[in-house]
Amino acid sequence: MRQARAQLTIAAVALLLGLLVVVQLRAQSAGTGLDTLSAQELTVLVANLNARNDVLRTEIASLEREATDLALSRARGETSLGQLQQDLARVRAWAGLDPVSGPGIRLTVSGPIAGPGVEEILNELRNAGAEALAVGPVRVVTGSVVAGPPGGLVIDGTALPDPFEVSAIGNPEVLTGALTRTGGLIAQLAATNPDLSLTLIPVDRLELPATGRDLAPAHGRPRL
């Protein structure tokens, strides 16, 4: 009798143990954090991932073409000067080392806004696919930050007047839509600060200067 009760106890404990192991393992395997997203958020994430993967596929296609062209011209014994120059111009323009021009939007910011507020605008424009950005006369590149209190904004050592302009090259409609949509950033900023005025116009052709920063790493070295 005592033996039977002992077996029953062990069985009960084993059952509980098994359940907990499963729960714990599931919690761990969900270390991707996806279990904290609702169905709606997951849908947004799927759309985002799809769009991003398409962009990456386009990049791969153009890189494959470039590699093939290079290999072909090498086989023919030709110099690939044209390709090198094209590649160089593209990378330098993308990084902000050279001036660029193109269609986009210009946002005039007037009134009290602090550095993080301007950074939010830049973040929103980047998310909408802006290919080049400038704040006032300063090209925004890796490491550029708009900082300071309202009235005392500085970007890369240059003080910003009031009003100042944020320029972005990209699809004007998409950039406009991203900022002006209902509940978008312009609406949010205006709601929290009635003295702030944000005026956005699409522009057919913007010219953005090159950065004045030296982007060459001084402390890091290429990882081989």
């Binding site: 997203l37 990456l56 660029v100 890796t142 116009i201 913007l206």
Partner: protein
Amino acid sequence: MSDLASRLRAIPSWQITLGLALLALGFLIAAQLQSETPRVRYTTQERQPLVQTVLTLQAQQEQLKERILALRDQIGNLEQQGQGSAVLVRDLNARLDAARLAAGLVALQGPGLVLRLEDSQRPVPPGGARSDYLVSARDVRAVVEELWLAGAEAVAVNAERVTGSTAILDIGNSVLVNSAYLAPPYDVAAIGPPDLYDRLSHSQGFIDFVRARAEAFGISIRFAELPDVVVPAYAGTVNLRYARPGASASPGPSTAPSGTAPVSPGTGSPRP
């Protein structure tokens, strides 16, 4: 000793089994309790196919990024091998290498810092907002911005390189960087001058951030100064569809506003 051994032997085997099982049970309950965070965990059925889709797409994204990095390597090698004798080609290659380095298309390693941001372990008080106790995109952006201001020259968040075109966004209670979904904890790695941490910790902006998030809500902000921080290469696109290199194509004012008229789809004139 032999006394203990004989006493142990006297214990029925079922008691030992039970004891071990209870011990394991205790560990598991503790682990379970520890892994409880302020985050809500959804377990509805409808999410399962979505989660599967996300995992598939994420795996694809990883492969695509690896392919991009491999192709860039291949192209770099092909360019280096081409007619090395010509001075012009050598010069172009050197400039291309420098441009890629400046653009963040090359992985870097060097002295720097890693800051780890983690959700608060404090219980959310009645009437408090749960999201205040979680790390948000705004927090990650604040740390990245403060690192740039302190003199960092390369920054990555959980292995996603931060460039001039990197957006950092909230998705639910997690964060997207370069459209890659990142789960907490968030490790912000930065390469910079030897006094990077000194400058960061003396920055009023960083002090305010720590007060507002760590002291007020218990967001965990830890750091390590490391002699060798690795910041991976940017694996996204550097294709320009709207921006053209140079600024001298058409004459006329540099800012020709198209007025208040809605922009037609043709205005973009993306490059083929």
